[in-house]
Amino acid sequence: MTLKISNVTKRFGNFTAVDNLSLEIPEGQIFGFLGANGAGKTTTFRMILGLLDITEGSIDWDGEKINYSNSDAIGYLPEERGLYPKLTVKDQIVYLGRLRGMQKNEIIGELKGWLEKFRVPDYLDKKIEELSKGNQQKIQFISAVIHRPKLLILDEPFSGLDPVNVEMLKQAVVDLKSQGTSIVFSSHRMEHVEELCEYLCIMQHGSPVVHGSLKEIKRAFGKKNLFIHADFDLTFLQDIPGVVHYKATTEGCELQINEEAVSQEVLNALHDRGFVRRFALEEPSLNDIFIEKAGASYE
């Protein structure tokens, strides 16, 4: 049950939205699909789902094209949330579930379980328009997973949720993964991606600029972060060779260095200057990587 995207290109007229993209997402993996706004994420998702035709290349799932014959095995949480405002939660999920090939009784059973899990068991007969935005999102999430999809596409699943709800949904995503669901997910919140995804890619202008496992990406990035808190002026540190970026903070500064060894030179330079309260060498965050790789086009 592997999702395989091979040399996919999508053009709208003269505009190339996705440019020669190749990815492979094996069963039971959570794949982070990152990129600035307009980098081609949603277009790629729509191509995976068969909503948009591919200009060049092919997308296979389990060796087959995705179309309406196998769409029952796919779950989709679109970036633009959408539910019928006038329908009750039950009617809503029953309709969407039946469209994914489930029986009514089966759907109601599953739905009750999910509502229980999301701690909103009394929402069964409430209309969508009566729910808060965050709770609507939970229902939207349920609509994407009610039929136990083998492939789940989540476009910005956590936006607009409070931290408690984010944890709840994250746990649900992890549970689905352990049941063998392949999950592709996009987010602008790098900490979520770091927490959930082993593999990811960062898109820019329709093609991936970074692609691989989280660990490898971090290692390959090379640069590290150095956090220094001190009582004296630290601006002289930016002249040390190997310091790529200097940023003053309220208690000191934050340096980006191009290799580990530079940290020792910085340490030597600080010697005898005064009292240093903190000196910490850290791995680059995904945020740093994203800003550098996709920063040029990021608003």
């Binding site: 709208f12 007229g13 729509r46 789902l49 068969g50 909503l51 948009l52 035709d53 591919i54 200009t55 060049e56 309406y68 769409s71 029952d72 796919i74 989709y76 679109p78 633009e80 949330r81 959408g82 539910l83 019928y84 405002p85 006038k86 329908l87 009617d91 309709y95 969407l96 039946r98 469209l99 994914r100 090939g101 609509s143 994407a144």
Partner: protein, 416 residues
Amino acid sequence: MNKFWIVLSHTYMTRFKTKSFLITNIIALLVIVGLANITSIIEMFDSEENREVAVLDETGEIFSPLKESVENTASDVTLKQYGGTADEAKEAVEEEDYEAFLSISYDGQNLPQASYYANQIASSELSNTLEQQLQQIKVAMATNNAGIDQSQLEEIYQPVAFEAVALQESAKTEEELSEARGLVYIILFLLYISVITYGNMIAMDIANEKTSRVMEILISSASPVSQMFAKILGIALLGLTQVGLFIVVGYIVLQQKQSEMTGGVFDYFGLSGVTASTFIYAIVFFVLGYLLYATLAAMLGSLVSRIEDVQQLMMPMIFLVMIAFFIAMFGLNVPESSFVTVTSYIPFFTPMLMFLRVGMLDIPTWEVALSIVIMLASIGLLAALGARVYRGGVLMYGKASSLKDFKKALQLSKKS
């Protein structure tokens, strides 16, 4: 195809369960019952006022024949001989003791003349009745004076015998024609109203799914083409339910009121003489017309991204229906004009105009068959186009809704 039925039943049930659907139907049923009882209702209002007219007859001869003929034609009017003077009578009218005052005298030639006094002369119904009856008395008197007796007079007023006979054997007789005209009227109105009402419902339904953004999930689970047709048929079934309900209730009410329902309008619309083939054509053209316009409505509905834009985008479609309707209204009097003949082949006009021609004229079968084929082809074409626009349109969210969007939607759904 299973998903087709799911969408269809969902479309039907959600609409069926809404309060507005219930309320509309109750109102419509009340109107039907009201119309069926219209005679009793009118009588109920009219029985309250029995209008009295004071008559001052200087001649002494005219009052009794006038009273008799007026009270025969208008049962709610009573004439009373007035004893006082003309001024007193006018005062009595002002005080509303009488509805009006009529003063009758002889003119120079010994023929009756009259003056009519009422507080208001805006409503001319009463004065007209009086005038007409007096006119008859005057004619009778004048002819009598001239030495013409009653039987001669009747001969003069006898209408000329004039019969229109169609030489072509299969052409409609006059009676058939007037009945066919009745049926054509009914179908024209039905088609006009249902296309606008149900077409609007379809467009609104789709636009609703689009604006609430639920569409993207829907089209990732079921194909847009089957969704579109499931919607069209779902709404059609809803319409059938509604019309069926009206017909059943109407029939029951009519059964009870049958005795009152003879004559007048009901003779005109009498359908007893309409041939079975005309009925079949009525159904065929109605169904095809609905499908054609519903497909167009579905396509238009999929183009909008805000519910407010639906009306604007539906305008061209409503214009089409209206144009067809007006040509048909014009065509009812001149069904054989070449303008009607030519326009009856334009698919959007066919359901009304070709049916009108079939109902009113004797036209060769191939002409009807050709128009049906053209309609079927255009429904197919529109469905294919609609499905593509639908697929692209539902992913498209812009401000404007114009021809440009139409192109964009096609482009979005373009095969590589």
